[in-house]
Symmetry: C2
Subunit: 262 residues, 2 copies
């Protein structure tokens, strides 16, 4: 059977619709949807059942999906795709030992993330005790404006890009402390750019404070942010005094390694 | 342009070739191939240049790939695909706090992995100091026969499946200690099945010992393995005496949580 598969994309380039649809089928599965029937996937993707059937059976044959004939679920091979990204960037490998050293010094969870659209995405993390209500893994996303790492990354964007973000980003009130006013956020980002770090005080989740610094590559561009998160019982002064110096040292050590591997 | 996209798969089911090819394009990128030209991707996938161009431009439009017009590289959005698997299984979330407790008790890196074909795939890890020459992340694969977790997982397979593995798996000599003889490996697996743990002595990498136990789900089936890896300076008796009891306790705690979430 021949499918009308390649269409004009929105930018005029040839667009392979089957690939978009197949990736959407993979992303139909998540923590609340671990086992799905064909109809479930059709409903969650908005695709016709016949197409969903073809995609699911293809993914079964390729080893990405398992099925008992009725229920479908993802197999670990799907991790290879995310792993392709992780191993295609030197960042996680370079930062990992430095994160481990930093955790040994500050006894709090430390992470590295990058900006992707309006979100930060975790690319490395060494966790101590769980502080947040949600589990954070490599690949976890949070809206950039409400995280210390996001503010460091947004503060490093060129002025026009930062202004466009402030015009278009959705700024939800996540706690009673979250800054959601674009003008106030603009002032916060300018302050972060000036001081070279961001201290976030319970704006993502009550009871949680974090402090982040930029990580620059060999060309001086900010490519990632590194942070330490702590219980709000540890006051902001303690983060500033006890955590910021080793955090900065860790970021400098990563930058030295990035220059070596560049 | 219409593509002949759906063909008969090897099991007679309809097969969407564009999806297979698009996923192959994503997997063309790795640590040694971080930035690729269109020709590079064509060479690495064996696909025609025209097809590769369509897939790459589609992935650019979907936000999975970035390009400067000549070089292509993966974007963090690719992690969402791996994350779909991680969040679609409760295992990483359930085991994470128990791994953290275990690391606090034994002061060595602890991991959980699952079997995928002939490989183990890491689904959770809490690392202390780096012992191995390669970085291990969630998604990292190793051949099952040469790892403590792999031996626990292989030992739990039904006899026919274990026999098929021993007939077909590629058993490379990774160090001078690696068991590569199928008959000897069969005896090792039988021993692991009997004693309920696997102790691996420098068979994956010189200087590295590890010990693993099975993790069972609510139905009693072995769904994962949990291990502790240590420098070979820590003798096998110390692993048996000091590490195995807390490792077993951690696995039991995970199993209790899995029964609760089942």
């Amino acid at each position: 059977m021949a499918l009308q598969d390649t269409t004009e994309g929105s930018r005029g380039a040839p667009f392979v619709q089957s690939l978009e649809r197949g990736l959407a089928v993979i992303r139909a599965f998540d923590g609340d949807h671990r086992q799905l029937t064909l109809s479930d996937v059709a409903r969650r993707t908005g695709l016709p059942r016949a197409a969903v059937r073809r995609f699911l059976l293809t993914l079964v044959e390729l080893g990405y999906v398992r099925t008992d004939g009725r229920l479908f679920s993802l197999r670990p091979r799907v991790l290879d795709l995310g792993y392709a990204y992780l191993s295609s960037t030197s960042l996680p490998e370079v930062v990992q030992p430095h994160l481990e050293d930093l955790v040994a010094r500050v006894h709090e969870s430390c992470s590295v993330s990058v900006l992707d659209g309006d979100d930060i995405v975790y690319v490395a993390r060494v966790a101590t005790k769980r502080l947040m209500t949600v589990a954070i893994n490599v690949g976890t996303r949070f809206p950039a404006y409400a995280t210390s790492m996001g503010r460091v990354l947004l503060a490093a964007r060129p002025p026009a890009e930062r202004a466009a973000y402030l015009r278009t980003a959705r700024l939800d009130q996540l706690t009673r402390h979250t800054v959601t006013d674009p003008d106030r956020l603009a002032a916060v980002l300018a302050e972060v750019a000036g001081q070279g770090f961001a201290l976030l005080d319970q704006e993502l989740e009550e009871g949680l404070r974090s402090i982040a610094v930029p990580v620059r590559d060999a060309t001086g561009g900010v490519v990632a942010a590194m942070n330490v998160s702590a219980s709000a019982r540890r006051g902001p002064e303690a983060l500033y005094r006890d955590v910021l110096p080793p955090l900065r040292q860790a970021a400098l050590a990563v930058e030295a390694d990035l220059r070596r591997t560049a």
